[in-house]
Amino acid sequence: MSTLVAPASGSTSVRRDVPAVEVVNLTKEFRRRDKRAGRFARRRMPALKSVTFAMERGECVAILGQNGSGKSTLVRLLSTLLINDGGEARIFGHDAFRETRQIRQLVNRVSVEASFFKKMSAHENLSYAARFYGMPFSQTRTAIPEILERVGFPADRRGEAMENLSRGMQQKVALARALLTSPVLLLLDEPTTGLDPRSKLEVQEFIREVRGTHDATILLCTHDMSEAEALADRVGLLDRGELLFLEPVEDVKRRYGVETLEQAFFAATGRTFEDEHADDGDDEYREVFGG
């Protein structure tokens, strides 16, 4: 059973009669400098093209896609970090773009970059982050050591600056931060990218454990097809902003008459999956802003 604690606020309810996530014709585009067309010219770069899907409560859905396919844009839209250009997204019935306060109570995220104050310790980073979700000191005093222990973080390193920790350790703390606030929707954006094989397996095992013990719906964006296959109930493919399919792995294989997800990817896009570079999940931004 989960030992996760609840945040202090009780102001956001979770409806059981609606899908956990409901995305309808969701569209997002960015503007990019177009030097060929003039010094101040901009051109529109579609990041998501009319994406539609739904997730049931407690389900784990993996979204696969090459760099720049729109995976991180989707995660950012669902976590209120971007405003849509069209369509809609609802999380447990709440409008993701209008009811942002309610959405933020329900959602948390783990991204490819661990993203911490580097000089601060794991305990300090988790402590202040928990305050933003209304968790007072009396709650975090026990909850933080507990959650760090659950993710396999050594107790004697809780006070050490994050910059001294390995990527794998940092990613465990990122998972702990996300779970500390007991989200009902967990957005995992390349959570194991760049980790060594052992850390990768540990993080995957923890995600599996969370699924088994915590009533969370998980949207997992990953490059790793075997990870998607091992963790998700359904697998989707986002290609150049379009969601080509979203169904159980066996159905995908049957649909394309193939043995593996790699082959299904090739059949669906005409390209091989090996072409991509598994570095981070920000590539649609990099492509748009040239960063």
Binding site: R16, T80, S111, K119, R131, S182
Partner: protein, 296 residues
């Protein structure tokens, strides 16, 4: 099993119903959560101060040295000892308020820039903490931290130069500075939006705004020596009233003067809501154009 930790999960009840049904109880819960979040901002800045304490010491030494270079000017103008002491005090007050304002601007204006650099910006902006509490938390820590630094700076330089302040009314000076802090925070909120819109140049533009404000406010000289148009701008700068009132309190022992307080309250009353509104517009722009992104 603790399911979600986010309250009722009864079938058929919407989030809206959750708010309406709770009424005052939900309002209290939201307020409590906001205050805990505000405390979280202060707590985080305390952790950072602790971790970067040597930077703080170095910056303090630099500020003291810089202030000495200004206050020593009083020694070079060959006045009577009493006039020299008065001039040195006036210059010291100007330098201390400059340093204090600099700290508030640094903290509030760089709310976004720091988080962008550390990479935490997206996590902070997706947390259920209102932007006003976020910015007030940052401002509250800045005021506390700034007051401590300004006090140390003031007394170290005064002792070093040998300034006498027999009539000083420090309580009135401190109270006026606290009142002025509200206006400074409001203006800081306006400029804190700049790094949100322009990740590369925004923070620098904030420093430009700080410098302009002090230049028109008579930081080391009376406002009356400036051109007419600058004197007009000085009227809407909170630093003008903070400098005037604090000089009167420390040099002449004046009490808190209503003529300095009411303009500061009016400027704060306009600057804070305006600052929050500008920040919200900037945040919306950043979310539309994908600028809430880490860098560095």
């Amino acid at each position: 099993m603790t399911a979600t930790g986010v309250g009722s999960t009864e079938p058929g009840r919407s989030g809206g119903a959750g708010f309406a049904g709770g009424g005052a109880r939900n309002l209290r819960a939201t307020l409590r959560q906001e205050l805990i979040g505000l405390g979280g901002i202060v707590e985080r800045n305390m952790y950072l101060t602790k971790r970067y304490i040597l930077w703080d010491v170095a910056f303090m030494v630099w500020t003291i040295a810089n202030t000495l270079t200004i206050v020593f000017i009083a020694r070079s103008v060959h006045l009577s000892p009493a006039r020299e002491n008065e001039l040195a005090t006036k210059l010291l007050v100007g330098a201390v308020i400059w340093a204090f304002l600099g700290i508030i601007f640094e903290f509030v204006t760089e709310t976004v820039a720091w988080e962008r650099w550390e990479g935490t910006i997206e996590y902070t902006f997706m947390a259920p903490l209102s932007r006003s509490m976020h910015l007030f938390g940052q401002g509250a820590f800045a005021v506390l931290y700034g007051l401590i630094r300004a006090t140390i700076l003031f007394f170290v330089v005064a002792a070093f130069i040998g300034i006498h302040m027999p009539h000083a009314n420090f309580a009135a000076a401190l109270a006026l500075l606290a009142i002025a802090s509200l206006s400074f925070m409001g203006i800081g909120m306006m400029t804190s939006v700049l790094p949100l819109i322009s990740p590369e140049k925004g923070a620098q533009l904030g420093f430009v705004a700080q410098g302009m404000m002090l230049a028109v406010s008579g930081v080391y000289y009376p406002v009356s020596v400036m051109p007419g148009w600058m004197q007009a701008v000085a009227k809407i700068s909170p630093a003008t009233y903070a400098l005037r009132g604090d000089r009167a309190s420390i040099v002449n022992g004046a009490k808190l003067a209503w003529t300095d307080v009411w303009p500061l309250l009016i400027i704060a009353g306009v600057a804070i809501p305006l600052g929050l509104a500008i920040f919200r517009r900037g945040e919306r722009y950043a979310k539309q154009h994908g600028k809430l992104k880490r860098s560095g």
